[in-house]
Symmetry: C2
Subunit: 575 residues, 2 copies
């Protein structure tokens, strides 16, 4: 008998599937997942048709990045429909066995909606107005507003900043909405409410037709909108009125409560059920940001740090609420329930990781994929310390732990013989040192980190990068089993939300154990390399503090000599 035939009829009938939807910057992906083992049985990617790879730009405003909400709705239709069609052929799959849908998205990506919860941008009156579109996470037009929010909060409500690292960002909810109010008051006035993309898609699937009835996730609310139970939800109207009285008015039209995942955001509407051939009323999970459901899909537990490594890196960890983790200075956000219910979701990040290597290889050395490979190969032949270089990884500012976008890159130790491969390696090492700063800061404030799981293209493809991280951080680097952890995490959330009675799971632990995995391949720290990197990390920290922390006074006069000594030692040992 073949393996397939071993599957008993009873097991077949018990089979259940969930759909995970991952709204990225350029496309949306849908996966149909077997709840029993996390296997993907159908997948479909839809590239947003509008703008430049899905991003609306304005040549006159270089910091502007918007998206057309119609792309989201069309993407929902095409991606889910396509993934289901692909799954139709899989053994045991029927559309009737789909028990729930989960959604993750970029964020903070707020969009204005009308009273019927429809995007303003889908109304012909506003279709051509850039302010009426979705304000994509990387839109930085609201820099001045972010500074003003931070200053106002520091002066009048410092508690608002504590859970989000002490600085409000131009990428976030209130900065963008306030900016809209200033530059496009007609759009602001026409909006009944605003909604994060992570809440918009579940509302669409659930057929919500009243903007006040959109269910909000605490992931977006807590990390980006200064929402916390401690002060009764969103910031007090008194605070918002200091920014602009109309923002205080808007608060009344938004929401009082946001929810952790596990509770349904809604149930599949009849219309979408018909469109997809799914059962109406199946669970729609709470939305969440891609990194957070990526952490779920990577098997995040207490003691696990999940690193989603891409152009930038997002670090996620959790800690039981019962442990009463203190605010961790410089950590972007600590929000109750933002990743899993009853746990603090802890988010940190590095502003440029893949982007830093891309800058070097493509921007400076003017190469492409082939040069990435070549430099990676040459860099891999170097021993730790052999380049004689140390860099700061701040070409795009520092998100954690300095929370300062007005920091820049630095590299020290160059000689007339320094090669581009040495600099390439030094830049990887710089991001690893930046990662270690985050790990040390979390541990220092009581967040246990016993296991590091990486996901993203760099984790899967760049062995040099992963080995350096293991050596620098001093932890084995594990790799998530799925190449699409956010979509998988969304599917996990849908399985828990649907519950055991529907063929899903009663607990997150069980769901993660069954549906997520870790690759066999892993990278262990090498003791000799660790010793060298401990010294280099010490130098990195000296530079980090000297250039990043006002008031720090450093003695840097031995830095170059120590780097030369490490270089000479490495060369000597290699010969």
């Amino acid at each position: 008998m073949g393996v397939a035939e071993l599957t008993s009829e009873r097991e077949m009938s018990a089979r259940a599937y969930t759909i995970g939807l991952d709204y990225g910057t350029n496309s949306v992906r849908a996966v149909v997942v077997d709840v029993s083992d996390g296997r993907v049985v159908g997948t479909k990617v839809f590239d947003y048709p509008s703008g430049d790879q899905g991003v609306l730009l304005d040549p006159k405003q270089p910091h502007l990045a918007r998206q057309n909400p119609a792309d989201y709705v069309e993407g929902l239709r095409v991606a889910v429909g396509g993934a289901l069609s692909a799954a139709d052929g899989a053994e045991g799959f029927t559309r009737a066995r789909v028990i729930g849908i989960g959604v993750d998205t970029t964020g903070s990506t707020p969009l204005p909606v009308d009273a019927r919860a429809r995007p303003l941008a889908m109304d012909p009156r506003w279709t051509d107005n850039l302010a009426a579109q979705a304000w994509l996470w990387k839109d930085h037009t609201a820099a001045a507003e972010a500074v003003a929010i931070t200053e106002t909060a520091k002066a009048h409500a410092p508690e608002l900043l504590a859970p989000i690292g002490g600085t409000y960002s131009s990428e976030w909810w209130w900065s963008k909405i306030w900016r809209c109010l200033k530059v496009a008051p007609d759009v602001f006035d026409a909006a009944a409410g605003w909604v994060e993309l992570a809440d918009f898609v579940p509302a669409v699937l659930s057929g919500v037709d009243d903007s006040t009835k959109i269910v909000r996730c605490v992931c977006a609310a807590g990390h980006k909108a200064m929402y916390a139970d401690a002060w009764g939800g969103l910031p007090p109207k008194s605070f918002l009125a200091r920014l602009d009285p109309r923002l205080a008015d808007l608060r009344d039209r938004l929401y009082d409560k946001a929810w952790a995942p596990g509770r349904p955001a809604g149930h599949l509407s009849d219309g979408w059920a018909k469109t997809f051939g799914l059962r109406p009323g199946i669970a729609i999970a709470m939305g969440a940001f891609d990194a957070h459901y990526g952490a779920v899909g990577s098997g995040v537990t207490t003691g696990t740090l999940v690193k989603i490594i891409g152009t930038s890196t997002c670090d996620c960890a959790i800690a039981p609420v019962a442990d009463k983790i203190a605010d961790v200075p410089g950590i972007c956000g600590i929000v109750n329930g933002s990743i899993l219910p009853d746990y603090f979701g802890i988010e940190a990040g590095q502003s440029a990781v893949g982007d830093l290597l891309k800058w070097w290889v493509e921007g400076v050395c003017r190469g492409g994929e082939a040069l990435h490979g070549q430099l990676s190969g040459e860099a891999a032949a170097l021993a730790p310390g052999e380049s004689g270089l140390v860099a700061l990884d701040w070409n795009n500012g520092n998100r954690t732990v300095l929370v300062d976008t007005r920091l820049t890159g630095l590299i020290v130790g160059q000689t007339l013989h320094t090669t581009r491969a040495e600099i390439y390696r030094a830049l990887i090492e710089a991001t690893a040192f930046g990662a270690r700063v985050i790990v040390e800061r979390l541990r220092e404030y009581g967040v246990p980190i016993e296991r590091v799981v990486c996901c993203g293209g760099i984790a899967e493809k760049n062995d040099l990068f992963m080995q350096i991280y293991a050596d620098v951080i001093g932890q084995p680097m594990l790799i998530a089993g799925s190449p699409q952890t956010p979509a998988l995490g969304s599917a996990v959330s849908a399985a828990v939300t649907a519950g055991a009675g529907e063929g899903g799971y009663a607990t997150w632990t069980e769901a993660q154990q069954r549906m997520t995995s870790i690759k066999e391949k892993r990278f262990a720290p090498r003791p000799a390399a660790r010793r060298v990197y401990d010294e280099l990390y010490g130098i990195y920290r000296e530079l980090h503090d000297a250039f990043g922390m006002p008031g720090a006074r450093a003695d840097l006069a031995s830095v170059m000599k120590r780097l030369l000594a490490l270089k000479e030692k490495a060369v000597h040992e290699a010969s």
Copy 2:
């Protein structure tokens, strides 16, 4: 009548010529110069045939750089012979009218000689021994010896270090000879004496056949061998014995007196006179280092700083001995008579200038001459401050004022949009800031600098470079009239050494006024650029002191923000 015909017969008969010989790193150049106006009537370059472009290397010793003395002798024959052949056709020239020969060379480039003053390396027993060759200026194998000499002098004879900037270099005479003693005692024992290349060539031309009779120039002795009248010449035997008793013994076989230019080092031997078709017995000028005769050929006077800008930069100034200039901390050397008699010769320098740009364009960006031009063009389109970058120009250490070879490069201010042209410009600016440090240090200690004359290929070809220097230093940048100022300076020295009675000159002032010139083209400082560069220079100084001066404590946390502010201001003003 044509111009040529205007030359009266009397003037023709009075015409005199000298030969200038310039021994560089890769080749030797001979020029035949009309004493009346400095015009070159014949020239010939001879590329050293040995090693890699004339430099003997050892793959196992990356700091080793030697030269084959046979190349020097063959180069003498070919270059002088060729220059004379080229001159033979010039109107009014005859070989009988050549009244003297001057020689400049790299240094410190010592070589071991036998009792007959012949290079050991030309003896078949030693031909293949790298220690028996000339130890080229840029040989850095003697780093440990340099440190030990500095330490010993600091402890027991600090006065020895005062005129040479406080630190003895691995590039210099005693470091190299001591190194030879340690690693090749057989070579050391076989050497009757050692001679600087600058003294060797005049001795060869003069037919010296006794190593104790080689005439020594104070230029090499004072700047590189700790020679000074104050302590009776070379360092006392008691000091040398602290290093090694055999060095003290060697002192007896060296020299007691070294001389300023103006006095003949010898007179042309019959053999060479016959070889070249010159009159036997014509004056052979004192040898000197290329930079020093380059300063003479650039018209150095009190108040003039001559910058010889090449792979590295050598700065030369003079001050009347009567002015009793104090020791200037960090200045490589202040030696009575090393450039002109009765003046202190003051030498400073930057370890990498052209080399720094070459590293960037060729080593990192992997381009050639065309890319130098392209990046120079792109960089010229940037306003001061627009790159947002500041670099330290220490990829090859810092010669002045820190006198520390164990310093390295640094660049700060990079974003993900930083271009290679911006870095190219930042590196030029870094060398300009380094140049300004030297100017400020000299002025601070009473050396007047009212005029800056540049020479070398970069000065003649790179307008962007020159304009940046004018803006950063705040002085007009003048350019020497001759593209070969060291060879011309050697020829000037020969004309003075021969004297007025032979058709030369009685004074250096007269000789320089007649034989040297300044180009029409010059670069004036631009007030707006100066203001920006004053701010950037402030940042450079903060980094310079923080990374280069032990014990300095810096507050660098605002550096990146100040650079960003300057960048934004520059971009704003440009738009």
